[in-house]
Amino acid sequence: MNTSALITMLVSEMVIIAFTAFFFVKVLTIPPKAEPDSFSENDQEPR
């Protein structure tokens, strides 16, 4: 690959991978808010 193509590809993909990973990890790790929340899997009793 020529240098300009390689740099464009690597910079673009690394920025996207970094943002994707950053936001998805945040979604996975932020503790859920107090009940009642929007999600049924963490409910004490079925809805």
């Binding site: 690959m1 020529n2 300009s4 193509a5 390689l6 464009t8 590809m9 673009s12 993909e13 996207i16 991978i17 943002f19 994707t20 936001f23 998805f24 945040k26 979604v27 996975l28 932020i30 859920p32 808010k33 009642p36 929340d37 929007s38 999600f39 049924s40 899997e41 963490n42 809805r47």
Partner: protein
């Protein structure tokens, strides 16, 4: 006052995957790489990113926030979500776009999705092994011309029943489970095919060029194109269609999120996941493999009419160069990936229509799901039977292009200027798990509507040409059918509005 609903999301990650699945579609793999090579190669990524930042992300927040706001009042479809934001009658009927578009797009999208099911079967069955490039290409032409008898109809019905069944299982029991299975598998198959595409070696497995040659061609920036309006319009259009904004499905999914729960981070996570699939995976499969076998000039010529032909007519033949086992596995992975990209989007098209019937007419989830399936059966049949007469493309143009832009433009004006940017900004930030730069408040108010206006104005010459072309009776019939659907949905909204007034069910 908050109105509760029986439907809910099972988990936050399930919601994000379902939203990402809604955005990720066949265009991520078939449209993006073709747009890139036609609009400046690697330089295309600059206007593409700018449009994502100034139009894509704001629209995602607008739609998530509008949906959650409407859901507070028990609304799960755009006619009454928009009504909850401004009481003028006009907006309810603008909201009709959010049901009409889903019905009309699902009608032809389901057929497209069924091709991937059929090709998965044929890849595993080895139907393309030992055949010439022309024969494999002709297979597709014959398929959509119904030369293969009722096989296309069978796969279409199978796809329709599968979609309807999943929808009838509800949000957490159906849509979310499909996304939790589909999205990880889509990414896994995408990574495997991307590795195979990039590591393709000239002289090995019949390849004429290295896979990297295709990557090099796609990513070499031609900066002379960067100030061309055509390139910016193409970038704005790509961002617009890849995120599935302007459809009403994001609002519907978000309407099941409570006010205190985050939408800002969820929207970012789903949006960036779509970008990962589109830019990282989408650029590494179709073009590197095609150029590896066919060379740059042939691929440029073949992509003049888009990436669909390359994906369905050429790639199955190229896979056969990898030997029986790898060919079957690669073909299966490619079409399975496209199938998951398709079904996670078509499921999102069903939920606003179902939400409308459940909210306004008290239908059960099962009844509304199977009624949606029946509507798609009736509306989709012309696209199956008269594909070669331009009916499919006509649906795609009016419902999958024009309606989206018109609706997104109106909803942005409503959110930023009628509902008010201060209330809107508060709505986006309520319960947020991230701090959004205040810069976006001004982008939403001033820049996004201008971008959308530019996309709309840019599409006007094509619109004028389309309207004046009435030479094909099938196309005219398709337009009349779509107009009938729009008017029919408008009438249902009118009945629902009168019914709400009579029952005193308006709350605000």
């Amino acid at each position: 006052m908050t109105l509760q609903t029986k439907e809910s999301w099972g988990s936050r990650v399930g919601l994000v995957l379902a939203m990402a699945g809604n955005a990720v579609g066949l265009g991520n793999f078939l449209r993006f790489p073709v747009q890139a090579i036609q609009n400046g190669g690697g330089a295309f990524i600059i206007p593409y990113f700018v449009c994502f930042l100034l139009m894509g992300i704001p629209l995602l927040w607008i739609e998530w926030a509008s949906g959650r706001f409407g859901g507070k009042w028990g609304h799960h479809s755009t006619p009454f979500i928009l009504d909850s934001m401004d009481k003028r009658t006009f907006w309810k009927y603008i909201g009709v776009f959010g049901i009409f578009t889903n019905l009309a797009v699902a009608a032809y999208y389901c057929y497209l999705e069924s091709w991937t099911l059929s090709y998965m079967y044929h890849s595993l069955a080895g139907s393309f092994m030992g055949e010439s490039a022309e024969t494999v290409s002709k297979f597709f032409i014959d398929y959509v011309s119904l030369v293969h008898g009722y096989e296309p109809v069978f796969f279409w019905l199978l796809c329709l029943v599968l979609n309807t069944y999943i929808l009838s299982r509800g949000l957490s029991g159906g849509v979310e489970k499909a996304a939790k299975v589909g999205m990880p598998l889509l990414i896994l198959f995408g990574i495997l095919l991307a590795i195979k595409g990039i590591t393709l070696k000239a002289g090995s497995e019949g390849a004429v060029y290295d896979g990297v040659t295709g990557l090099n061609f796609l990513w070499t920036p031609d900066f002379s194109t960067i100030w061309t309006p055509k390139v910016w319009l193409a970038a704005a259009g790509q961002i617009f269609f890849t995120l599935s904004v302007g459809m009403g499905s994001i609002q519907c999914y978000a309407s099941y999120v409570r006010s205190k729960d985050d939408i800002a981070l969820n929207a970012m996570s789903a949006g960036w996941m779509n970008e990962f699939v589109e830019v990282v995976l989408g650029s590494s499969i179709l073009i590197p493999i095609s150029i590896g076998y066919l060379g740059i000039d042939t691929v440029i010529e073949m992509t003049k009419n888009g990436g669909l032909g390359l994906g369905f007519r050429t790639l199955p033949y190229l896979f056969t160069q990898w030997g029986p086992l790898l060919s079957a596995l690669a073909g299966f992975a490619w079409f399975c990936l496209l199938f998951f990209a398709g079904i996670t989007s078509s499921l999102a098209m069903g939920t606003p229509c179902m939400g409308f019937m459940q909210d306004e007419f008290g239908w059960s989830r099962t009844k509304s799901a199977w009624s949606f399936g029946a509507a798609i059966l009736v509306l989709g049949l012309p696209t199956v039977l008269f594909f070669n007469h331009g009916v499919f493309d006509e649906y795609d143009y009016w419902a999958g292009t024009v309606s989206l832009v018109v609706f997104a433009l109106f909803e942005t004006i409503l959110f930023a200027w009628v509902f008010g940017i201060d209330k809107g900004w508060h709505e986006i930030n309520q319960g947020s798990d991230i701090k959004i730069p205040v810069f976006f408040k001004y982008v939403i108010k001033y820049v996004t509507p201008v971008f959308l206006g530019a996309v709309f104005i840019g599409s006007l010459p094509d619109l004028a040409r389309k309207i004046t072309d009435v030479s094909n009776p099938y196309v005219v019939g398709a337009r009349l059918l779509l107009l009938g659907v729009f008017l029919g949905v408008s009438y249902l909204v009118y009945i629902a509005y009168k019914k709400r007034l009579k029952e005193g069910r308006f709350v605000s």
